[in-house]
């Protein structure tokens, strides 16, 4: 028998430290938790070891981490605002190739726009209004991240809830929910999103104008200046349209899984013990089917970014001057291939982000599979036994 040498590499030790820190934190809030959940913590440690052993998974995690950092700190780190067009200040700023440096003259209207005299470098180029592409991409990362999180979280919540109810109760409730889900699934996703994005902006415009606190909240979330608040209505209508398109997929997925998990003996045992329906659904069925759903959610975050960028590329998403990766490509496509940077860089960022989510989701699928964890557990126990003996 070949000796499997299994050493905990530094990443493993780091994940151990993280999990222990989390366990201590929860233990401080609820004493006794750490002792009660020793098995669960061990499983989490093995999951992290599995993730650490997949180089593509680590690459995906790094890409996702970079995207999230870009989204959170982007608007603060951006050299200039997303809406400042330098073309009025210096005509050379129009469609400047990447790496162009312009000198801002000492003129009054430049200072009124917030531009102080000196040099300004367009890292990735500029568009036809002289807006810096790198800054717009940073703001656009915020837009993409928030939109995808909002869309997937609400869609998944509604979908999982309905799927749980439908799968657990069965009968008439199941029929009704599945009929409604099928109604929405009769339309291919993007087409329904297009149709909704076409009509929703006009429907919510008046509501939006009379509820400025929503505008303020969205403006804070998306780092949008006050003058652009009306444009946020288009972004809100995209989010609502995607909510409507997103929930049926989860309902169908969850219902199928619940139907199989429902037949397990522990569910019958819980019922015999008198656990309430809600208790069974959320404490017994849900944790046992959450694995594939989590993987689906991870890859769905990438899918939401892609769909939202696609809608913006068709002109149906965020309205300028809001910075949105798909919209930048839409506006910049007319100058292709002369101003190739307007299409290349946003698309590259979209690709890398979605690719990162998909890579990480793939690695997560392996990590959440109990069989991979068992094989790693076997190897760890062997090494630990040897260490103790030798």
């Amino acid at each position: 028998m070949p000796e499997y040498v299994y050493v905990k590499n530094p990443l493993d030790k780091l994940s151990d430290a993280l999990i222990d820190a989390f366990a201590n934190l929860v233990d401080a809030i609820r004493p006794g938790w750490k002792l009660k959940n020793k098995g669960r913590l061990e499983e989490w440690r093995l999951m992290m070891y599995t993730l650490n052993r997949s180089p593509l998974g680590i690459l995906g995690a790094l890409l996702v981490a970079f995207f999230i950092l870009m989204a959170i700190f982007g608007p603060a780190v951006a050299p200039i605002s997303y809406r400042t067009g330098l073309v009025l200040c210096d005509l050379k700023a129009r469609l400047a190739p990447p790496g162009t440096t312009i000198t801002i003259p000492n003129k009054d209207f430049c200072k009124r726009m917030g531009l102080h005299p000196g040099k300004f470098e367009f890292l990735l180029g500029s568009d036809n209004f002289g807006r810096d592409l790198w800054s717009r991409l940073l703001y656009g990362a915020r837009t993409s991240l928030i939109v995808s999180i909002l869309v997937v979280s609400v869609g998944a919540s509604i979908g999982v809830l309905l799927g749980l109810i439908s799968g657990y109760y069965g009968g008439a409730v199941d029929e009704v929910i599945m009929r409604i889900t099928d109604m929405f699934l009769a339309f291919p996703g993007l087409i329904l999103a297009m149709a909704l994005s076409a009509t929703l902006p006009y429907a919510i415009q008046s509501w939006f104008k009379s509820h400025m606190e929503v505008a303020k909240l969205l403006g804070y979330l998306f780092a949008v200046e006050r003058v652009d608040y009306p444009a946020l209505a288009s972004l809100l209508s995209v989010i609502i349209a995607l909510w409507i398109v997103w929930w049926p997929g989860y309902t169908r997925l969850v219902r199928g899984t619940v139907l199989s998990v429902r037949e397990n003996t522990y569910v019958e045992a819980a019922k015999a013990l008198g656990v309430s329906d809600l208790g069974i659904m959320f404490r017994h069925i849900l944790p046992n089917m959450i694995g594939p759903v989590l993987v689906y959610i991870t890859m769905d975050l990438g899918g939401a970014i892609l769909t939202e960028a696609g809608l913006s590329f068709l002109g149906l998403g965020a309205v300028p001057p809001l910075a949105d990766w798909g919209r930048i490509i839409y506006d910049g496509a007319q100058f292709f291939p002369n101003a190739w940077w307007l299409v290349f860089w946003p698309g590259l960022f979209i690709f890398l982000t979605v690719f990162g989510f998909n890579l990480f989701g793939d690695a997560l699928r392996d990590a959440l599979d109990p069989r991979t964890r068992r094989s790693i557990e076997f190897k760890v126990k062997k090494v630990v036994a040897e260490e103790e003996a030798g």
Partner: protein, 332 residues
């Protein structure tokens, strides 16, 4: 065979309410959500009030919602609906564009998916965990992560100076048998037209298929690997069957989920068409729906969306029936 008949009846019984439900959704989107569509159809704020009043009367916009729904559906299904914005017959416009451009595009993409996706998936499964497998898996993952509108411009930039692709106009043969140009050309063995068609459409079709290839490659690989773990494979190996024959048997069993997903994918191709048609300036249904959105022509938009939905539902129905025919265990 009574099994299949019962299944067919039950499946068709669920088809009809779903269809009616879809028409309700379509109605709500086109008429109920935009508060005053007549105003938009008449030209916005500057519209004269009597034009708006005439439109309101013509499209029964002031009636109760079920009367609106009745007239709305009657209008769309009659085939004689006239768009309030462009004053053309909606149905003839939509059907020409669909049959001439979008359907050939979707079929061409489908061929790409079949010809590239399935062999790559099988190769990846056979050579599991080697460098070929890893490259194919990476390629498939890239396929589902790339935005079409980005890759399209990159490929256009690379290929157009070399003359490998035509980017404007749309070739139409002079004759008409089925209304679908490439099929007509095939029937008449008009290879000159087919060459023009391929030169115009191969890049849009390939891009549309790109994500589908990624999905099918991964699915074929997983399905093939699942089928290979069956006991009959060990039996065949013990009996000394040549590898090729074993793979053929495994493939037959692996094919069922692939067929299902392929059927669903056809509808997905129709959904991806608007982006591809916009980039390549193809006069198809997707771009027509987009233009009607820009013109606030909601009636045309929703008729186009409705057509796409019907095709999608029908392809799902066919796939379900096929699945039940192939696999007797599925006849519920």
């Amino acid at each position: 065979m009574a099994d299949i008949k019962k299944f067919l009846i039950r499946r068709l019984l669920t088809f009809v309410p779903t269809l009616i439900g879809a028409t309700l959704i379509v109605f709500v989107i086109a008429v109920k959500i935009p508060g005053n569509p007549a105003l938009l159809w008449a030209g916005g704020q500057k519209a004269s009030p009597d034009v708006v009043a005439r439109l309101v009367a013509e499209y029964h916009l002031n009636d109760t919602w079920y009367r609106q729904y009745y007239f709305f559906m009657k209008n769309i299904l009659s085939g004689k609906a006239i768009s309030p914005v462009t004053s053309t017959n909606i149905w003839s416009q939509i059907s020409t564009r669909f049959l001439q451009v979008t359907l050939p595009l979707a079929l061409f993409s489908f061929i790409f998916i079949l010809v590239i996706g399935i062999p790559l998936g099988i190769l990846s499964a056979i050579k599991r965990d080697t460098w070929i497998d890893n490259i194919i898996r990476a390629f498939a993952l890239i396929g589902i992560s790339t935005p079409i509108f980005w890759l399209a411009y990159l490929l256009i930039f690379w290929l157009q100076p070399r003359g490998w692709v035509t980017l404007s106009g749309f070739p139409l043969p002079g004759y008409k048998i089925t209304g679908i140009p490439p099929i007509d050309a095939l029937l008449k063995l008009d290879f000159h037209y087919l060459w023009l068609f391929v030169k115009r459409m191969w890049l849009p079709a390939f891009l549309l298929a790109y994500a589908g290839i990624g999905v099918i490659t991964r699915l074929t690989r997983n399905s093939f690997l699942d089928a290979m773990s069956g006991e009959y494979v060990v039996f065949m190996e013990a009996r000394g069957f040549p590898r090729r024959r074993i793979y053929m048997h495994v493939l037959r069993n692996a094919l069922t989920p692939i067929v299902t997903v392929l059927g669903l994918m056809f509808g997905g191709l129709l959904a991806g068409a608007p982006i591809t048609e916009t980039i390549f300036n193809l006069p198809g249904l997707g771009r027509y729906i987009l233009q009607s959105i820009y013109n606030f022509d909601y009636l045309t938009m929703i008729t186009g969306v409705f057509l796409v939905a019907i095709i999608y539902m029908t392809s799902n129905l066919i796939v379900d029936i096929l699945y039940a025919v192939i696999d007797p265990r599925v006849r519920y």
